[in-house]
Symmetry: C2
Subunit: 192 residues, 2 copies
């Protein structure tokens, strides 16, 4: 096995999700994930601290992109317009592999309390990144808190629709995430 | 030690939070928690499956009360009015012990990734309970989803203010949770 191969991280994620789906999270070992991905165990540990972290690969990147998009939104943008800019930027990093992974990822998480917890913490991390970026733009609390939560909901709902949608739909994640955000904005007007 | 004592569950929670704060979550054993609470190890396991579950004691009760309050809100109540009814009902179950525990609970959770994850999952559980109760009232998605998230935020923000507030403030949690919900409602109007 090569000591380093391009795309090793992505292959490890796909291998892990496949194995979690096939035989369960608890029964899957790091050695099996590495073997399926065609890399050594030590290569696995160059990318991830343990098998659970594979499931939230990209959390740091997503957080950074969401925050960058929010920071770079036009000066007069509303809180939700800034969130939309963050979603657009983060969506651009999500490609066909992320899309194909969606349903299996969802099944693996649904089947493991441990993965549900890690996933919940990931969502809090994404919300915190957006909230900090909104605060840095001068958006006061609790508006920044609320706008960040809407951003996470929109990202999750948009991702679910994108990854469960028709396979011949060539659009990326962005339009789905933005449509979900728009729905939430409308829903916010009907809370009473 | 008595085989059963009134208030054992509450004492176990207080003992666990105290020990987590004093010596850290990882270093604390079930045996130590039981000893501090003045009960046997087997009494501990009558209430909790492991030491981590102590931190989310009451999640099932809170979920039930939030859902009941929402279900019993007047027929013409808006989604957020129904959520307010849920918050009022759940708040009534939170007494002085819950209040005093707040700052130590917060410190213990902040110091342990494992507890942060369990806490994140607890919040998802509370949101799901409210969302289901709102759906049962005929509130469509994503309004139900959003109103439930606002309910969780209001409960968390209200609890933080209540438990960190002046000790001579004799009011319960309810007014703090309802004030937080009202702030979020106002903030929802400024999202843009």
């Amino acid at each position: 096995m090569a000591r380093w191969q391009p795309g090793a991280q992505e292959r490890l994620v796909v291998a892990a999700v496949d194995l979690f789906t096939e035989q369960g999270y608890d029964a899957t070992t790091v050695a099996e994930i590495a073997a399926r991905a065609g890399v050594t165990r030590s290569t696995f540990f160059r990318y991830f601290s343990d098998k659970r972290e594979v499931l939230v690969a990209g959390q740091a990147t997503l957080s950074r992109l969401l925050a960058e998009g929010i920071a770079q939104a036009p000066q007069g943008a509303s809180p939700l317009e800034a969130v939309a800019a963050g979603l657009e930027r983060a969506s651009a990093a999500m490609g066909p592999v992320n899309r194909d992974l969606g349903p299996r990822l969802k099944a693996a998480i649904a089947a493991s309390a441990e993965l549900q917890e890690r996933d919940a913490l990931k969502n809090i991390g994404l919300a915190d990144a957006m909230r900090d970026a909104l605060s840095a733009r001068g958006v006061p609390d609790p508006t920044a808190h609320l706008a960040a939560e809407l951003g996470v909901l929109a990202f999750k709902r948009g991702y679910a629709r994108w990854s469960e949608g028709e396979r011949d739909d060539a659009t990326g994640l962005a339009p789905h995430a933005l449509a979900a955000l728009e729905e939430l904005r409308t829903a916010a007007g009907t809370l009473g």
